[in-house]
Amino acid sequence: MTGRGGTIAPDRVIEPIESESIDTARPWNVVVWNDPINLMSYVVYVFRRVFGHSKAKATKLMLQVHHEGRAIVSSGPLEQAEIDAATMHSYGLWATLEQP
């Protein structure tokens, strides 16, 4: 499995949205949600390929999505979190952003 930022890198940088209500200093979480279609084996593959997780870590995250309905798959600055969310969408997964 290739690590993060392999051939999936988008052609353009996604600009963060400017707003007074955003605290860009606090990290943003990328949350992947359970969906009834995507295979567990595929979700593990995506987490390994995109984030470079070990099989064990990716499987643990996938099972969290499956049993708890959601899991935080990455955390960081808004710009990177948005890119990660868009990458998840490009793999057909359902992802949202949240700031704890």
Partner: protein, 146 residues
């Protein structure tokens, strides 16, 4: 190279995938549209729409490229060739998108649909199963040496 064990029938069904990927309509008419670019800020429709607008080009471009790679790969396999590792990610994404699109149009919203005998007659469910098997096999082939 990944040795292909696809049957002629499977190859024929897989040829539907690029059409599925290219045929996604807008939110008003196609339940698949919203599912493919979900709201990233659930409590802020405006910011979600801004994100969707900015990310749409990238996601659509990737989807189009993946469909082309899949179509070319199927031609190669149909004439005795193999699937390259470089193409595998495109295949994975294309298969996932096709399944998500089909699932949205059938109206699958909950886990457990695989055992629904009443829905079993829907051809799209059959294609969902087949694409799932192919995707599972592909994951196994990609990760077998790890």
């Amino acid at each position: 190279m990944i040795r292909s064990r696809l049957s002629d029938f499977e190859i024929a069904v897989l040829r539907l995938v690029p059409q599925l990927l290219a045929g996604v309509g807008d939110s008003a008419t196609d339940p698949a549209a919203d599912r493919l670019t979900p709201r990233v800020h659930p409590n802020d429709p405006e910011r979600s729409e801004e994100f969707r607008r900015l990310a749409a080009d990238m996601i659509q471009g990737t989807r189009d490229a993946d469909a082309d790679v899949l179509a070319a790969g199927l031609d190669r396999i149909a004439s005795g060739g193999s699937l390259s590792f470089e193409d595998a990610a495109s295949w994975m994404r294309a298969l996932a998108h096709a399944r998500v699109i089909l699932g949205a149009r059938v109206g699958i919203e909950e886990d457990g649909w695989e055992g629904d005998r009443a829905a079993a007659g829907d051809t799209r469910i059959g294609v969902l199963h087949l694409l799932g098997h192919v995707q599972d096999d592909l994951v196994a082939a990609l990760t077998s040496d790890l």
